[in-house]
């Protein structure tokens, strides 16, 4: 539904000490024994399929403003979720009482629920086959576990970030660090026992400049990406920076938070007197920190098979990208240079895992090839509707107490195979707007009409950056927009965008996903002026 669902996962679980975040939890042999209790109990009660997820979700969130620490939250959420098919219908129950008796009771409750719901089930669940993979382990390949870094070091960093912003003219600054470690154990009646250790993080801030005389205020958010990396993302590496002359600095796989906060303060002040954009058609040069969200909303969500089929009709909606359009094999989603892939094995992304939450090994596949729609994203109980025999591995649950369902994999735009830099793109643009950062976003329930804003807007005139703009939002229609894609930068410009709290489903669940792309140009996009007076 939405790329932001912050409160949902904020303090899920019990608050613990920072040291406890490093305690190992129960061993794999115990997890297997507990999982087998659930598998056996469900089978005895009449389940024809069962999967079990034992989850330990560790989170550390730090919040500061100016020279103050507002909050430090260390939390642990631990429990088990049991999903069954009985009488051809799904049932799900969960508990955080991890005794064999309680787990068996939970499995039986899931079967009872499936049987009660079978009364109003039209067609039995069809599950794509998945051969058991036996006992496996998988871990996010991080260099530095963020939980091993002392809290004081993190607070010192945020205080330095805030200090840099204030020193450079910010009126206010808030800064946050989010760290997550998901320790997930999956077992199913297919014969899979999979232990995974998943890490991700997000450093971010908001800098605000206020002019009390005019009563105006402007903000600039961090240009960082939530990312599937360890604490090593928070480092300075000139090779991982892209510096735009007369413009901003952006970051690839090493983020200098203090440097970005310094720039943000200066840019927030500059925004106070920036020229208000004249509405009209412009060529839009979208940095990955901005285009990532547009990919998420206009490609990621509409190509979710559950939406296409109507399973999300009551909340997020359905999709303009219908089954007929896929089957036609000639639906021009974008221009011929547009290649969009779903990829759950891409390094440094937040969607990177070994297996999804129904035990399917992860992979990469095309969604849009040479501009043509070629596939969707699906789970085991839906993939047969695509005529395929193997799930794409898109099942995910927010936590042990949430039922898994189809969630978006990393969806990314492929770079130009030929050399083409952002400098080349600016040089080749006559009348354009260069947008960086994630701003306001809104898209309709079938993903046709969207409107996005950003953090920084630069006017491009005759091949040069001509100054900062304000009050910019671009509106378009998904198919029209992607067909207006005229140039894509090369792999050296490719960076990741991410959303840490993407919301979907009823009850709502959050997931984290990355979107990679280089800076990309879209010609003749409609820009509106968002300035108002009250």
């Amino acid at each position: 539904m939405s790329a932001t669902l912050l409160p949902a996962g904020l303090i899920a679980g019990n608050r613990i000490s920072a040291e406890d975040l490093l305690s190992p939890g129960i061993d794999v042999a115990t997890k297997k024994r507990l999982a087998d209790v659930a598998l056996n109990a469900a089978k005895s009660k009449g389940a024809t399929y069962t999967d079990v997820r034992i989850g330990r979700y560790l989170r550390q969130y730090l919040f500061t403003r100016e020279n103050k620490v507002q909050n430090i939250v260390n939390s642990e959420s631990y429990g088990i979720g049991v999903r069954v098919i009985a009488n051809g219908t799904w049932g799900f129950a969960s508990t955080n009482l991890m005794t064999p008796e309680s787990i068996a009771e939970c499995a039986r409750e899931a079967v009872d629920m499936a049987k009660a719901n079978a009364e109003i089930q039209l067609e039995p669940v069809v599950l794509a086959p998945q051969k058991g993979v036996g006992e496996k382990t998988w871990k996010t390949p991080i260099k530095k576990n963020a939980f091993e870094i002392p809290v004081k070091e993190k607070i010192d960093l945020l205080m330095e970030v805030n200090g840099a912003a204030l020193k450079n003219g910010a009126s206010f600054v808030t800064s946050n660090l989010f760290f997550v470690n998901e320790q997930k154990y999956f077992a199913s009646t297919d014969g899979s026992y999979i232990d995974q250790d998943v890490h991700r993080m997000w450093p971010t801030f908001t800098v605000t400049a206020v002019n009390k005389q005019t009563g105006r205020f402007k903000s600039r958010d961090a240009l960082s990406a939530p990312i599937g990396m360890g604490y090593d993302y928070l480092s300075d590496n000139p090779a991982e920076k892209i510096v735009i002359p007369n413009g901003p600095t952006t970051y690839r796989y090493a983020y200098n938070m203090i440097e970005d906060a310094t720039a943000a303060a200066l840019q927030a002040k500059e925004k106070l007197s920036a020229k208000s954009v004249p509405a009209g058609k412009y060529d839009m040069l979208l940095d990955p920190s901005n285009l990532g969200l547009t990919i998420h909303e206009s490609v990621g969500h509409p190509l979710e098979l559950d939406r296409v089929l109507g399973y999300e009709a009551n909340l997020a909606g359905t999709s303009f990208a219908t089954m007929e359009k896929l089957q036609s094999k000639n639906f021009q989603y974008g221009s011929k240079i547009v290649n969009l892939v779903a990829d759950k094995i891409q390094p440094n992304t937040m969607g990177l895992v070994g297996y999804d939450d129904e035990g399917v090994p992860c992979k990469k596949w095309n969604l849009v090839k040479d501009g043509i729609l070629v596939n969707f994203q699906a789970t085991r109980d839906q993939v047969h509707l695509l005529g395929e025999k193997e799930s794409q591995g898109c099942s995910f649950a927010e936590s042990w107490d949430s039922v898994q369902f189809q969630r978006m994999p990393n969806v990314s735009l492929q770079p130009n195979p030929e050399k083409y830099s952002i400098h080349d793109m600016i040089r080749d643009t006559e009348k354009g707007i260069y947008i960086l950062g994630r701003g306001s976003s809104s898209i309709d329930q079938q993903r046709y009409n969207f409107q996005f804003s950003g953090q920084l807007f630069y006017e491009i005139k005759d091949g040069k950056i001509a100054g900062m703009l304000d009050d910019v939002a671009y509106q378009s229609n998904t198919q029209e927009f992607w067909n207006s894609c005229s140039r894509i930068c090369d792999k050296d410009d490719y960076r990741l965008f991410g959303t840490f709290f993407d919301g979907k489903g009823q009850p709502g669940q959050a997931s984290a996903v990355s979107h990679g792309c280089p800076t990309t140009r879209f010609n003749g996009v409609n820009v509106i002026n968002t300035g108002r007076k009250i």
Partner: protein, 438 residues
């Protein structure tokens, strides 16, 4: 099981308070259960049930705060939680904005718990969902819906003698019904503390009617239109405004309530004089918790009176800075209205657009509270007091502040998403583009 009585909750809280050696200690006890069923394509899709009981201990040692949570309630576990919180407090940085905990408070007694809702089970949900599906199928339409019920309690106590207890139930149902050709879509939703007031049959009928009536919509040019906003649509925008009434942000000059040259708009007339909005935890239509998470009472508060900003919310810290009493953000609001029904409002409209609800509404500019979003699931053209035909959905770019200055008429308030909101007629509502979405 997870709903403790006031006496049971107080016994546990007092026991934990006695274990603490800190300067200040607060204990919160929360518990409850919830169940849900979801359907789509006229068949059940997913369902779930959860039970929870947890205790949270917050201790303060020299302005350093530590919090620990547990789900076990034996003496050893309670003691462990307290010691862990104390340990965390000693390691925490000092909070320069720390405010001492409040002493004993007097709370109102909202009647928010209904036994019928608390006793809902999986077969009850399957029965209600099944009846809705049956009507949808009989109409040869396709439906997706969600039914959820919950019962919960929360109790709070501290070592200065404060104690509060509140219990609550809730049930909500929403559904979207679409025509087989994909050209029509209708929505209806309801939420109550008492599930017996949740008329899933009538809501299904409304969604069926809207789905059929919205088929084959015609395109109108985007622009400024007179609109009739159903309570669900109006409530969404007004809720954003009520949530943005923090005094500190306004004093800092970064809110729609800040003004040129400094200061705030408190006491100024900002909206049409017919706009009065208040919150009241004891309102029988939308009863809610009588206290905030830090123990300050929720009382009846008028936020706008005849268009004038009467109050802003104050955190304990900011209240101390400004020499006023802390005023927590409300958990629901009542906007006063008139006596006209939605049908009467439509009848009194020469030309306009009827909006069932908004979708994907997001801020654009916190300075002006400008929001963007789209109409959805039933948008109609009104001509000479009658609904003439469905129209294609619009994207809007509008501020609730501007909207409530362009007020023409208010109808009778109804409950929507925990608030009481009247349907309203607004002139010059800004639609900026068309959407093909149904």
């Amino acid at each position: 099981m997870a709903i403790l009585t006031q006496e049971e909750a107080k016994t546990i809280i007092d026991k934990v308070l006695r274990l603490s050696k800190a300067d200040e200690t607060k204990v919160e006890l929360n518990g409850g259960r919830s169940g849900n069923i979801r359907f789509a394509r006229n068949s059940v899709s997913t369902s779930g049930a959860t039970n929870n009981l947890s205790l949270s201990v917050t201790v303060v040692i020299s302005k350093r705060v530590g919090t620990s949570d547990i789900n076990e309630f034996d003496d050893a576990s309670l003691e462990k939680a307290v010691r862990r919180a104390e340990e965390m407090a000693r390691l925490a940085p000092e909070n320069p904005e720390y405010m001492p905990m409040p002493g004993p408070q007097t709370y109102s007694k909202p009647q928010a718990f209904v036994d019928t809702t608390a006793s809902m089970k999986a077969p009850d949900r399957a029965r209600l969902a099944g009846a809705s599906i049956k009507s949808i199928m009989a109409s040869q339409l396709s439906g997706a819906g969600f039914l959820e019920d919950s019962s919960s309690f929360n109790a709070i106590g501290n070592n200065k003698g404060l104690f509060g207890y509140h219990k609550n139930t809730g049930a909500n149902f929403s559904l979207t019904i679409r025509t087989p050709d994909g050209t029509g879509s209708g929505y209806a939703a309801g939420d109550f503390n008492d599930v017996s007031k949740l008329d899933t049959g009538s809501l299904t009928d409304v969604a069926i009617q809207k789905a059929r009536a919205s088929q084959k919509a015609m395109a109108l040019e985007p622009g400024k239109y007179t609109v009739i906003l159903e309570p669900m649509a109006a409530g969404e925008l007004i809720n954003f405004m009520i949530n943005a009434m923090d005094a500190r942000t306004a004093d800092e000059g970064r809110s729609f309530l800040g003004k040129k040259g400094g200061g705030t708009r408190l006491g100024e007339k900002l909206l049409d004089e017919r706009v009065t909005i208040y919150s009241d935890p004891t309102d029988p239509q939308i009863p809610s918790s009588p206290f905030s998470s830090d123990g300050y009472p929720h009382e009846k508060v008028v936020w706008f009176e005849k268009g004038v900003v009467k109050n802003m919310s104050y955190s304990p810290f900011w209240a101390k800075q400004k020499g006023v009493k802390p005023l927590p953000q409300p958990s629901g609001f009542v906007m006063e209205g008139g006596t006209q029904s939605l049908a009467e409002l439509i009848k009194g409209t020469e030309k306009g657009i009827l909006v069932t609800r908004f979708w994907y509404t997001r801020w654009l500019d916190p300075q002006t509270l400008l929001y963007t979003g789209l109409t959805r699931d039933g948008t109609f053209f009104i001509d000479n007091g009658q609904i003439k035909h469905p129209v294609k959905n619009f994207r809007f770019n509008e501020s609730p502040v501007i909207m409530l200055n362009n007020l023409e008429a208010l109808g009778k308030p109804v409950r929507t998403r925990g608030n009481m909101v009247p349907p309203m007629r607004i002139r010059d509502f800004t639609f900026s583009s068309l959407s093909d979405a149904v």
